[in-house]
Symmetry: C2
Subunit: 355 residues, 2 copies
DNA sequence: CTGAAAGCGCTTACAG
DNA sequence: CTGAAAGCGCTTACAG
């Protein structure tokens, strides 16, 4: 590896001058600039990033803690962030917390020890003491993804899960559904609380009393757990189910298949998150769409803005979610004609568009 | 941030002694060790990684170039690698090449400039001049994922795509299929060549003359391109189609749905790669399974072994793939009874097991 | 406009 | 067993 000294020798100038040329310092003569550039080019000089970082105190590196990169949603978020950060000359140090708060906390401190300039965190829970403790020692800017940590004035990018779920449930109500189930993850997480809020709002908006008993909080999204919850909802004679994310939705599809309950015909179905394959099962699944890559890109931009300084309070960016109606949402089995409400909404165009 | 000097002052020793204690140097007195450890603990000292790296020349960082982290297969590979590397104290610097060889080459050199200790590469093509050029300047060990670069003596982890496809096609032949189509990506890539090889071997093994004309090499896996290829195969009256990966398979499912061709009943179907949702479409899709996380973990282990020195020639690790038969592979429409061959194979237990 | 010197925070031969 | 010194490869006040 060529070092600055060798470039300096070839160009017959001091190393400091080489540095100035390469860093576009204004006060350099055109002739010297020319010589240095040629020498650097000739030797294929590339500055040692470590030395630069140690000296300047900036690593142009962002630490990313993600729950599980093999989940497509997180893959999309990381992709969006990485692309955006790359355009600023930043790189991404990636870690998986594997749904484990202790590991999450450990990764946060490892990333700090590696002197990242900032952190983008897709945390497990909003209430992990270990994570809070690790975050206490963090000196660099942090952008939280879809989480709010009380008492921590960090920037955040949040999905507006509520409005998408509300739209979906409103459509179900229009179709004639009165008993609707909601399957969500832990309500110790903003996303689930948000979905519950949208669900309740739609129920109330429909004049239906909100169905607290048909909201199921799942500890995990395994086929077994979701299967039990599904059985329990079907026992309550719900005619439609909303699944809080792709994992829950996938397990729900599995549970329905096991029980030979057909989506749409027997029980209507909406899944929060749009996977390509949800369009290919029969009937195609209605979804609440959110843009993972956008979340990553926005987080990256916030971090860049924060690092360039001059921003005062915490930045909160809310990203919308969209209901997309497909074949898995139909009138409930008993109803043979469309209820009036639906026709009305279709005319005014206020319901989600069918694709 | 606390530095070593402050720890030294508190412990009343020289900075070099602190360093020795913290690096488990053998020649330190128990008393001093005790004092230093207490001081470090008390101050919450964490060595500056940059300074350590600059001095020792090792960053404990691995650069990872992946085509697109939002594709679940790659997510799994990165996850497997990251988990394994973490256990060795290494971190992962992740970049997406976005299927773009120029970007891929750029990322390789950026990672080298960042002084990674090694590189794990999931390259686009096996024949990109830009990538070869970038790789020429690489001084650190490289592990290639599912690619072979002629003339480059790098370590590699490869899937044995051929055997999985061969098993699948053998099962299709047993079921009575005689005209089988294969949809693969560019044959400028080992994976596709491997699949073609397995396909041909099975055709020949069955006494069927190999169907070169029913092998379609796709430039991309868009719905449109795959749709045209599917139409062309159906025009050739194939009764079964094998899709080379999850993207092609997903598009194929879409194309079949568009054309109202039902998997299994109308045309049998095998997809290379197992996504959870492939089990949930109706009928469940037969697949050739490969373990993404295993590939990542094995690549990480090879890199660690290489970095610990003492290994001579390039390491090549082959990972198996497994055919899993499900409902999408059935006898062709005309055939009403199982052909004899199938029953025979089932008895000898040599065909893939149905799940 | 240019160079010599100091220093970022460590580790590691080298003395003792 | 311990400390003082040199040095990893840069950047940046400081002189001139």
């Amino acid at each position: 590896m060529i070092k600055i000294k060798e470039v300096a020798q070839l160009a017959r100038v001091a190393p400091s001058s080489v540095s100035r040329v390469l860093n576009d310092h204004p006060d350099v003569s055109p002739e010297m600039k020319e010589r240095v550039l040629r020498a650097a080019e000739q030797l294929g000089y590339q500055p040692n990033f470590l030395a630069q970082s140690l000296r300047t105190g900036a690593t142009r590196t962002v630490g990313f803690v993600v729950r599980d990169i093999s989940i497509p949603m997180f893959g999309g978020i990381v992709k969006g962030a990485e692309q955006e950060l790359e355009s600023y000359g930043y790189s991404v140090l990636l870690t998986n917390s594997l749904q484990n708060s202790a590991l999450e906390a450990k990764h946060i401190s490892v990333l700090c020890q590696r002197r990242v300039d900032g952190l983008i965190l897709s945390l497990q829970s909003e209430a992990s003491a270990e994570t809070f403790k690790a975050l206490d020692n963090v000196q660099v800017p942090v952008v939280l993804l879809d989480r709010e940590l009380i008492g921590l004035p960090a920037d955040a990018v949040l999905f507006d899960h509520a409005s998408g779920v509300q739209e979906a449930v409103a459509d179900l109500v229009d179709l004639g559904h009165r008993r609707i189930g909601l399957l969500v993850g832990s309500s110790r997480t903003r996303a689930s609380r948000d979905r519950i809020r949208g669900f309740m709002a739609a129920c109330e908006g429909a004049g239906t009393s909100a169905n607290w008993d048909s909201i199921v909080e799942l500890p995990t999204a395994t086929l077994e757990v979701v299967g039990q919850a599904t059985a329990s909802l079907l026992g309550q004679a719900v005619t439609a189910i909303v699944a809080g994310d792709a994992q829950i939705g996938t397990a729900l599809l599995g549970a329905m298949k096991e029980r030979k309950v057909q989506p749409g015909r027997d029980v209507s179905l909406v899944i929060c998150d749009d996977l390509e394959l949800f369009r290919l099962v029969d009937p195609a699944v209605s979804v609440v769409y959110r843009d993972a890559e956008q979340m990553g890109a926005v987080a990256a931009r916030i971090l860049m803005k924060r690092l360039s300084g001059g921003v005062a309070g915490p930045i909160r960016e809310i990203l919308r979610t969209n209901y997309v109606a497909r074949g898995s949402t139909m009138p409930p089995p008993e109803t043979s004609v469309l209820p009036q409400g639906r026709a009305l909404r279709a005319v005014t165009g206020s319901s989600g568009k069918r694709s």
